[in-house]
């Protein structure tokens, strides 16, 4: 049997009811969200269920929505069912002042480094992660560079030698 978006949606709603929400299908890919406390329950359900078998994590990333009060930071999981070659996208949102999300590294080993990267750039604190430290940036960095609170470069700044770049 091949999977369909409707079938997966139906199974999720049967299991979690009102708690899974925001179903949409951008470019045909099923996307939904759940409360952040639920993320492991949903991932485990998708992993274990004999029909669904989403046992491969393609990607895990963060996103910052500054206007989204109380849900500023998103953690996005891209899952892949290798048997039926089917992909879905799952999001949880968290408050930027308390960015605690349970780690998925126990379920998917691939999540280990990707959660470190998400922590590095967005400051999402993955609770239970075996080694949550910066992975790409220098250890001394004391800010999260991909958060949308940094202004663009001031074109009139003079601390760079413009002649070197033809900007003078």
């Amino acid at each position: 049997m091949t999977l369909t978006n409707e079938h997966i949606k139906q199974r999720l709603v049967e299991k979690f009811g009102e708690q899974v929400s925001g179903f949409e299908e951008p470019y045909g890919m099923l996307t939904f969200e759940a409360p952040k406390e639920m993320n492991l329950k949903v991932l485990n359900f998708l992993f274990d269920e004999e029909e669904l078998k989403f046992r491969f994590m393609t990607d895990l990333c963060g996103a910052h929505f500054p206007g989204n009060n109380g849900k500023e930071l998103a953690v996005v999981y891209h899952l892949h069912n290798l048997v039926d070659n089917f992909r879905i996208r799952f999001k949880v949102f968290t408050d930027i002042n308390k960015p605690d999300v349970y780690t998925a590294s126990g379920l998917f080993s691939a999540a280990n480094w990707m959660e470190r990267e998400t922590y590095d750039f967005y400051g999402v604190n993955f609770v239970g992660h075996p080694k949550l430290k910066r992975i790409l940036n220098v250890d001394e960095m004391d800010y999260f560079p991909m958060r949308k609170k940094f202004t663009l470069e001031d074109q009139t700044r003079i601390d760079k030698d413009d002649e070197m770049f033809g900007r003078g």
Partner: protein, 194 residues
């Protein structure tokens, strides 16, 4: 029609065919020549610089052209490109240096023996270049002292050769006492070296 091939059409007199460095200033007479030790050491050093390429991006490609037969850096006595910092005199940093790479550049610099010189090739090594961002070092002079900057993005091989000639000029004119002086010590102290 066969291709006309001919060799050595232009006869070169032997003495102009061999490149010889100019004699330093001094006094000479029959059987003796007197000059300053500085000049002799400088002459020897400047014509036998061993470069250490630290190439991270496109400027490194230009450097490969510089080392090749067309531009031929070997003409300036830099025949031997070393990949071991302990034997090299000239650190050539070519390309973008990320902040995470900064300590590596510094480590390589520390491993080089005195006297040592540094040349920053290209906009990125000189000032961060177009990468005006959180992850890129805004010029290697934030971690090591630099003697010559070569502008360009990337600079042409001629520009790199020009930089090396300027380094040669510095090397040839450097006082033997410079590296023991207070000023040099203060410079290294400002980079937290020794």
């Amino acid at each position: 029609m066969s291709r006309p091939v001919s060799y050595n059409l232009i006869k070169k007199p032997l003495e102009t065919d061999i490149s010889i460095a100019d004699m330093p200033e001094g006094h000479q007479g029959e059987g003796f020549f007197a000059t300053k030790l500085n000049n002799i050491i400088g002459l020897a050093r400047k014509n036998s610089i061993w470069p250490l390429p630290f190439a991270t991006s496109c400027c490194g490609i230009e450097f490969m052209a510089t080392m090749g037969s067309h531009y031929d850096l070997a003409r300036f006595g830099s025949e031997r490109v070393g990949f071991s910092p302990r034997q090299c005199d000239l650190l050539m940093v070519m390309g973008t240096i990320a902040k995470k790479m900064g300590p590596v550049v510094k480590q390589v610099y520390l491993q080089m023996a005195e006297p040592r010189w540094v040349i920053a090739v290209g906009a990125c090594a000189s000032s961060g270049g177009i990468f005006d961002t959180y992850s890129v070092l805004q010029g290697i002079d934030q971690v090591v002292p630099v003697d010559v900057y070569v502008p360009g993005c990337p600079p042409r091989p001629e520009a790199i050769i020009d930089g090396v000639i300027r380094i040669q000029d510095l090397v040839g004119k450097e006082s033997l006492r410079r590296r023991n002086g207070q000023q040099y010590k203060a410079l290294l102290d400002s980079y937290g070296i020794q």
